[in-house]
Subunit: 225 residues, 2 copies
Amino acid sequence: MPLKKRQYDDACAATHAIDMLGQRWVLPVMRELMLGPKRFTDLKSDLRTISANVLTQRLEMMEERGVITRLRLAPPASGQAYGLTPWGYQAAPIFQTMARWGARSPEHDPAAPMSATSLVLSLRSMVDPERAAGFCALVGLHLGRETFTVDYNSGAVAIARRTLPQDLDAVITADPDAVAALVHCAVPLIDLETHGRMAVSGDRFVIERMATLYPPCTRAQLPPE
Amino acid sequence: MPLKKRQYDDACAATHAIDMLGQRWVLPVMRELMLGPKRFTDLKSDLRTISANVLTQRLEMMEERGVITRLRLAPPASGQAYGLTPWGYQAAPIFQTMARWGARSPEHDPAAPMSATSLVLSLRSMVDPERAAGFCALVGLHLGRETFTVDYNSGAVAIARRTLPQDLDAVITADPDAVAALVHCAVPLIDLETHGRMAVSGDRFVIERMATLYPPCTRAQLPPE
DNA sequence: CGGCATCCGGGAAGATACTG
DNA sequence: CAGTATCTTCCCGGATGCCG
């Protein structure tokens, strides 16, 4: 009957946003779509531990709410895909502020596994503009089945999921975890290479420099017991 | 026993943040503490529909995670209170970006009831810096049992929960909903006064000007069916 | 008053299997 | 590939009662 939805439903816009984003799997789905539309199966495999029924239900609800929209894929690809609406894309600053806050959590583990998309997004959201002020380079990333570009331009960072162009300064081939180890956990590039976790082509110094643009983890201190 | 916690537990800092903030009532509790510590009973009455056992459990968990801390109240007030930790206060930009995004939701209703704290926070997070560029004024708010100050200074907005000082330019006495109607829903001041929903003292023009600093609601369009 | 412990009902999330 | 259907488990919220 009343169909209680367990939402706050008050006029506070922030709690309303959490009504939209706080339900299980909504935020990870939006994250995976931040760099462009994906198909059901790709979403399911990128999220790894979501079950098909929950994904189905969540996509329906997010479409109702206007966060995502169903797209017909242009031939040659068949079938359909899901993409963010303009309003959905406008949630990007939320990811930025949440990532910067969440990285300071005492319980956050930057060495846990992560998806390709979340790694690439972190390259934009976690950069220290001061350290990147004088750095300009176009870097390619080869992460599993997908490729991305990261364009550093005097403090600004532009990211994209696309086929790699010709004019790259350097290319990294690795798992997302290895790139995270390089930039977020200060693991030396040479160590990753000797363990076979990463391969670099092009200007090697660009990658060394890129690894210095991200602040080391400074977790908030828990008060003594 | 595995004790599954229904968290994402991945390295993506944004999803880790939602692990911390997305659980029911966590965000509203943080919101209510953003302008200073409160006691259990005040929290419970400000949140209105939370039950005591859930509030107890949530406060425990938030303390474990380092978001809030238990405080002994200085005499003459007796007992204890709960306040945000430094890391907890650092979540303020999350509220800002979520509020600006949530206000554009097709389902957001700015006329719903809201707490005094969330109204005052919205005066900071929703201001349009361009419109407020040339505006400097110190406004007092009398909302129920609490008083606040709002300090407009050339686009910046500083808010505080405190006893009202002497050098105010104007004072509003009203319910939070009435102030929201004034600034967020473009209800004319005179209408609120004639209906007895608001009383203004001091420089009346300051309040009229203040009402123009906030953009009208522009909701994201839902795609046609 | 200011919490904490326990039981209960309903609903949301997870696992698995299956279908067009 | 793109979802359904079913079953189980877990979490939320309400009520009640206890304790300082």
